[in-house]
């Protein structure tokens, strides 16, 4: 799979995880900032404000960003820009982009912004923390806070011990990165990290939400995914905590139903076109397009019509309006 798709896939689970576990994320990843925040006051995601900046700037979209309003213990309002850099290749323009975002937001909304970068890549040595520019004695220096997820590899045991739900997100991400070329290993980790959710005693909804993240980043090839699902359902049964299994039973029924309808329509159209081609060679594109709009029972009833039609025009005349 090309790299582009890779990052797109990581993108939205990251955003969701950040939204859902924002205080936990701050406490785990940026404790030095978290201690200054008054968590008794609600934080607010400023998606619209951020979108405006991104659209105006036409900056790329290969990352997950969040702009959040928080209150400091001193009573002041503060905006945080969290930039999660998901893509694998290090980018020379990254510090500059951090600077541009910060500047654009403060310029547009007259609000000071604290910028936090989360780097998800696998390159140990890429650690940007500032943007610098200088010409003829004129100088810009912009420092931002940076967290390298890779560094958590050294603290794996602590992540496993941690009750912070964001620790699960980080573990899943690290293992997704590490097992990219070893699917068997990936399945083992997917199960191991999922199991921890139950062992740590998270409430049902957290288990489901965190599992979604795990399931999303630790994608498996079909055969291994089936094995994983079986193992998980057995585990849940044994634990008498049928959370994922029961939610997915609905998902399964929904999927089956949807697939069945699609499969029927697909085959019925295919057979009709085939029968028409047998008799009249070419089937024009418009006719084909009209068949696509019909439902399964309409298509089925046209089979006899197709077999006895004298011409394509005669057949087309009999199509439901």
């Amino acid at each position: 799979m090309p790299d582009r798709h890779q990052s797109a896939e990581y993108d939205s689970p990251w955003k969701t995880a950040l939204e859902q576990y924002f205080p936990s994320f701050m406490q785990l990843c940026f404790p030095q900032v978290a201690v200054a925040i008054d968590w008794s006051k609600p934080h607010e995601f400023l998606d619209k404000e951020l979108q405006k900046i991104v659209r105006d700037g036409a900056i790329g979209k290969r990352f997950a960003d969040k702009l959040i309003k928080v209150w400091l213990l001193g009573g002041e309002e503060l905006w945080l820009l969290i930039h999660v850099e998901i893509q694998e290749k290090k980018e020379a323009v990254f510090p500059q982009r951090m600077y541009q975002y910060n500047y654009r937001i403060s310029d547009c909304y007259k609000q000071p912004v604290v910028s936090l970068a989360v780097l998800c890549d696998g390159n140990q040595s890429w650690r940007p923390t500032s943007f610098n520019w200088e010409t003829l004695g004129c100088q810009i220096r912009f420092d931002f806070l940076m967290l390298k997820l890779l560094d958590y590899k050294q603290q794996w045991a602590e992540l496993e011990q941690s009750q912070n739900p964001f620790a699960v997100v980080i573990m899943a991400h690290l293992k997704a990165q590490e097992t990219r070329r070893n699917q068997q290993q990936r399945k083992i980790w997917k199960f191991s990290i999922t199991r921890q959710l139950y062992e740590k005693g998270y409430p049902r909804q957290d288990i489901l939400d965190l599992f979604h993240f795990i399931d999303w980043v630790l994608k498996l090839p079909d055969d291994l995914e089936l094995e994983f699902q079986k193992e998980l359902s057995e585990y849940e049964q044994e634990k008498e905590m049928k959370y994922v299994t029961s939610v997915e039973r609905f998902a399964e029924a929904r999927g089956l139903e949807k697939g069945l309808e699609k499969g029927k329509a697909e085959m019925a159209t295919q057979v009709l076109v085939h029968l028409l081609q047998r008799q009249f060679q070419e089937v024009p594109e418009e006719l084909n397009a009209r068949l696509q709009t019909l439902n399964v029972s309409q298509l089925e009833s046209l089979i006899d019509v197709a077999l006895s039609a004298e011409s394509l025009a005669a057949f087309a005349d009999r199509l439901p309006k």
Binding site: H212, G255, K258, L260, G263, K264
Partner: protein, 85 residues
């Protein structure tokens, strides 16, 4: 969270094949009935053991078969074993 879980994705793929097979069998039975009137229940049972690909291949055979017996004679063996989910 809005995305399709792997379970749902798998189920949809299974449903898709099932739907395709159902319609293919229905069409085949219809084609045979048109030509040979009575078609015994066993023919349908035999068809149900075949894969979508095999069923597709039978449509032309059903249209050109000179007798029902000739059609049944040329039916392939049951589909290879597939992963049950």
């Amino acid at each position: 969270m809005k995305y399709m879980t792997n379970v749902e994705r798998f189920a949809e793929a299974r449903g898709f094949e099932k739907g395709q097979a159902e319609v293919a069998i229905k069409v085949l039975m219809r084609l045979l009935q048109r030509q040979f009137n009575e078609v015994p229940e066993e023919v349908q049972t035999r068809l149900q053991t075949l894969s979508v690909g095999q069923l597709e291949g039978l449509i032309d055979m059903a249209l050109s078969a000179e007798s029902l017996a000739a059609f049944v004679d040329r039916l392939p063996q049951a589909k290879p074993i597939e992963l049950e989910a």
